[in-house]
């Protein structure tokens, strides 16, 4: 079974780029353009990993995390331009990715590593 990845980002071009790259790597990708929609998909689809943008209109990434509550082995990669964000969320299973990323394949690499580690556990 393919690992399921949920992308929550208000920037469509970023969602599209990430989806293309991750799908090419064989992941099952679902995407949401805002926090509310993302939260719904998170609860319905049960992703293995969520790529979550912090700064979004409406429900922010951090609020989404709060709503979700217990992660239940779901891995989260927070994406933000503000380097201070990862200090705010100190939670096991939550990772941090600084935007803008120079190479989109670095993102794929990070995703792979996290999922690989979780698979080991």
């Amino acid at each position: 079974m393919k690992p399921k990845i949920l992308i929550i980002d208000d920037e469509s071009i970023i969602r599209r780029a990430l989806r293309r790259v991750l799908e090419s790597e064989g992941y099952d990708v679902v995407e949401a353009s805002n926090g509310t929609e993302g939260l719904k998909l998170w609860l319905n689809k049960g992703p293995n990993l969520v790529l979550l943008d912090v700064l979004m209109p409406g429900l922010s990434g951090l609020q989404v995390l709060e709503e979700v509550g217990e992660l239940n082995k779901v891995k989260v990669i927070l994406m933000s331009a503000y380097s201070g964000a990862h200090e705010v969320i100190e939670k096991p299973g939550v990772f941090f990715l600084k935007k803008p990323f120079a190479n989109v394949f670095d993102v794929v690499k990070t995703v792979k590593e996290i999922l690989y580690d979780s698979g080991k556990n």
Partner: protein
């Protein structure tokens, strides 16, 4: 008829009786006969009848005698007739009638003689009296003459005194300074004996003593001893040590004369003299006679001095005042100003000051509205500069009119400049914040574009020869550069929020150069970097701003293009960056001002005027220095030094 007394000397008794009887029969003569014993003169007797036997006896008789003699030959007696007082000589044999007749004749003669003698005597007495009178008169005349001469001399003396006094008054009259007054007073007092010198002393409003040294006024303040005497002291014991102390020399006697001036309530004229007590009165008289005019004169000169000083003070304030101040009349004629202006005379203020032919636009004096007592002001543009011109009317007390005005020009140009620069700076700050937002917003789509490009590129790995693939590479590169620029911009604008950290100066310089591309377009950059491995402790973003400013200035110093040499080097304590241009140097007149806030040579909008001043203060904040190393016709070098991070020494 007067009773005639006749003396009888040694005559016969019968003769005496016969003569008396005979006299009774005649009523012509009234004769009283008095017997005399000697020949002594008896002034009561008019005549004596004597009987002499010897002529020798006659030599002792005086006065007039009728001599009877017994001598037969009287020739021997005749010589006595000539020399003695014998008026008649008869023989004793003659009859008593004859004697009586002779007596009558002699008496008559005698009376006549006596009358003439009387007359002569009277004349003589009168002459004597006249003589005495003449002598008295002469004496009187002499006395009078002497008196007149003395009186004249005294009058002359008085006149001379009065003349010298008047001359002194006349000399005192026009004097205007304390110095000249004291010179005159001293000269006057020294014209009399015993006076050595004159001083003026006051204890009003702090003690002070004035003296003359070579006709120059010398003042001593805060006298060592106090003095207070309300009466004239001929030999003041208290004043003497003061003088001696102040003059640093022995002082003879000192006479102190108190007087009151409006300017100095408690004042004394001190006169140094060497007069003995008995010689002092004329000196004192002389001085007392002059004390009133002297007081008046000193009153005048001291107030004149005071007003002169006040007026001088006011004038220097007026002249030293930074802002231009003028006094003009209603017709704009310039009466006075604290400016050194060309020309003068009856020129108008606008001609001289503004170089105009008509009053300045908006000048309150040119408007219909009357000038207010508290001042009327307007903003007036004069030769490219903006002034706040305020006019204050001056009341002419005599004419009860306001015909002249004080004009105060306050230069607003600089204030306006600073204000506009301040606004510009605020705008720049806002722009920085805005740029930050824009940069963030741009980041997202850029990231997406780049990521997509990268994905497509990887997807087309086997079609690398196609132009499509090559085009995409350019897109990816372009977005990469955009991201770099945005990163720099964000670093630049969010500088204040960031912490100090250790960094290499070289790295910061290289980063800064990336967004100076526009400025560096017309110049070439020569780099000599030797601080790659040396870390500096500071806020890198702020330092970046400083470097940005310095390089930007260097580029602007060479409008026709040139070379900017950037050189980094270090010693044990500091890392250095030298920024050198090959421009024409900073003009010497603005050199002292280049580190001043808001000073700029650039046109509005090109520089904030905060560049160098802010840069210098930033660098200083991190323990470094920003200095001008060299500026001349061959170019300018600025040097920035920053302390090396301690970490780098330990590693």
């Amino acid at each position: 008829m007067e009773q005639i007394k006749v003396g009888l000397y040694k005559t016969h008794k019968p003769l005496q009786g016969q003569l008396v009887d005979l006299l009774k029969t005649q009523n012509q003569l009234q004769i009283e006969f008095i017997e005399v014993q000697g020949l002594l003169e008896n002034s009561e007797l008019t005549l004596c009848i004597g009987h002499f036997d010897q002529a020798q006896e006659l030599k002792d008789i005086k006065s007039s005698w009728l001599v009877l003699t017994s001598a037969k030959d009287p020739t021997g007696w005749v010589r006595f007739l000539n020399h003695s007082a014998v008026v008649s000589l008869l023989s004793e044999d003659v009859s008593p009638e004859k004697i009586l007749t002779e007596l009558g004749r002699v008496i008559e003669e005698q009376v006549l003689v006596a009358g003439a003698g009387e007359l002569v005597r009277e004349h003589q007495t009168r002459n004597l009296h006249l003589k005495n009178l003449t002598i008295g008169l002469e004496e009187l005349i002499e006395e009078r003459t002497e008196y007149i001469r003395n009186a004249k001399q005294q009058a002359e003396e008085r006149q001379k005194k009065m003349r010298s006094f008047l001359l002194f008054l006349k000399d005192l009259g026009p004097l205007l300074t304390l110095e000249s007054a004291l010179v005159k007073i001293r000269e006057e007092f020294r014209s009399i004996p015993h006076v050595a010198d004159v001083f003026l002393m006051t204890t009003d409003r702090g003690s002070e003593l004035w003296t003359l040294s070579n006709k120059t006024l010398k003042s001593f303040k805060d006298l060592p001893l106090s003095f207070d005497s309300k009466s004239v002291e001929r030999n003041s014991v208290a004043a003497r040590p003061i003088l001696a102390n102040v003059l640093s020399r022995p002082v003879a006697k000192v006479m102190s004369l108190p007087f009151q001036l409006k300017t100095f309530k408690k004042s004394w004229l001190l006169v140094e003299h060497d007069a003995q007590d008995n010689e002092l009165q004329p000196v004192l008289d002389f001085i007392m006679e002059r004390i009133q005019p002297i007081t008046l004169c000193l009153e005048r000169v001291t107030s004149h001095d005071k007003y002169e000083k006040a007026s001088h003070e006011w004038e220097s304030v007026f002249d030293e005042f930074q802002d231009p101040i003028t006094i003009v009349d209603k017709e704009f004629s310039l009466l006075r100003s604290n400016l050194t202006l060309p020309g003068g005379g009856t020129s108008k203020c606008y001609e001289l000051f503004a170089e105009r032919t008509s009053p300045c636009i908006d000048c309150p004096l040119a408007s219909e509205v009357p000038i207010r007592a508290g001042g009327s002001s307007a903003e007036v543009r004069i030769k490219e500069r903006l002034y706040r011109l305020t006019l204050f009317p001056i009341l002419d007390v005599e004419k009860r009119q306001m015909n002249t005005y004080v004009c105060h020009y306050h230069d607003l140009t600089r204030e306006r400049e600073i204000h506009s620069r301040f606004i510009y700076h605020e705008k720049m700050l806002a722009l920085g914040v805005l740029a930050g937002h824009v940069a963030h917003e741009l980041n997202n789509p850029l990231t997406g574009i780049r990521a997509l490009s990268q994905y497509i590129l990887s997807d087309l790995k086997n079609q690398q020869e196609t132009t499509f693939y090559q085009d995409l590479i350019e897109i990816e590169k372009g977005t990469a550069r955009c991201q770099n620029i945005i990163k720099s911009l964000l670093d630049f604008t969010s500088a204040d929020n960031e912490e100090n950290k250790a960094f290499s100066l070289d790295q910061i310089v290289e980063q800064t150069l990336t967004f100076l591309k526009t400025a560096l377009r017309s110049v070439s950059v020569e780099e000599d970097f030797q601080c790659q491995d040396v870390l500096t402790q500071a806020n890198p973003n702020l330092i970046q701003q400083v470097i940005f400013n310095l390089v930007n200035n260097a580029c602007q110093a060479m409008s026709q293009g040139g070379v900017v040499r950037l050189k980094t080097y270090h010693d044990n304590k500091y890392s250095y960056l030298d920024i050198e241009d090959i421009g024409t140097g900073i003009p010497t007149d603005i050199l002292p001002k280049i580190f001043d806030p808001f000073f700029t040579t650039k046109k509005e909008g090109q520089g904030t005027g905060l560049g160098l001043s802010l840069s210098a203060s930033l660098v200083k904040k991190y323990g470094g220095r920003l200095e001008l190393v060299k500026t001349d016709a061959s170019g300018t070098i600025f040097r920035m030094s920053l302390p090396c991070a301690k970490v780098s020494h330990e590693t």
